[in-house]
Symmetry: C2
Subunit: 121 residues, 2 copies
Amino acid sequence: MNEKLKVCPIRYTLGVIGGKWKLPIICLLACDTPMRYGAIKKKLGDITNMMLSQSLKELEANGMVNRKQYNVIPPKVEYSLTNEAKELLGALTMFAKWGNDQIDKNENNITSGCEECQSSC
Amino acid sequence: MNEKLKVCPIRYTLGVIGGKWKLPIICLLACDTPMRYGAIKKKLGDITNMMLSQSLKELEANGMVNRKQYNVIPPKVEYSLTNEAKELLGALTMFAKWGNDQIDKNENNITSGCEECQSSC
DNA sequence: CAGAATCCCGCCGGATACTG
DNA sequence: CAGTATCCGGCGGGATTCTG
C-alpha cells in the first residue's frame, strides 16, 4: 500500500478495507460514535488483540480511522471514522445491497444480517 | 461461498470478487464483448492457466460470468458478464473513484490507470 | 485451444504470553 | 486498559507438466 506504484484504484480500495477484520470494524464505527478499543473488541467477540491493534493501525495509516488517545491511567483510546472513510459507506451500501440480492437469489432461505459486526452493515 | 450461513452481505460480495484475479477479469469483460479464454489470458499477461480457469469457474459458479462453449475442434469458449455482474459495475466505479481520490491525496504524483487489467476499470 | 493435476512456498491470521 | 512479542499452521496462489 505504501509503494509508489501504478495500481488499480479498485484494488487499492480493496487493499485498504481488505483482510478479515477491517470491514467489520468499519461497520461498527459507522454508527458515528467514537468507540474505545475494548468496546470494539467486545463487539467483535472473537478477534485477538493482535489482529485488532494491527487492523486499527493499518486503517489509521490509510486515513480510515482517527485515533484519539487520552493520556490517563488506565489508558483510554477512542477510534472513529474519518471523513474519507465515510465517503466509502455509500459504495459499501451498494455492495451490501447487491450481496443481499444475490444471497436471496441463490439460496432463498437465509437471514441476511451481519453476524460478524452485529450491525446492519 | 456455498455454505448456507448467515453471512455479512458485504463480505459475501467481497468473497465473490475477491482474490487476486477476479477483479481484473471482470474489468476486462466489462467492455461487453464476449472474450475467449486465450484472449483473456493474453490481456492479463502473467496469469497462469491454473489461476485463470479456477477464477473463471468460481465466477461462473457465483453467477458472475456466462460460459459459452462451442463444440468445435480446436475448442472455443467465450466468457461474458451476466446481468447480475453488470449490476455490480456501478459500485465498482464508486470504489475506483474513491481509490483514485485517495491515491491522489496520499501521494500526489501517481498515474492512475489500471495496470493489471489494461483498461479503465 | 482450453484447460486439469501435482507440488510447493509465502504470508495472513490465530494462540499464547507479556507490559507500560 | 490498550496494547506488544513470538511462534506457528493453513491456505491462497504460483510453477511446472500433461491432455481431450
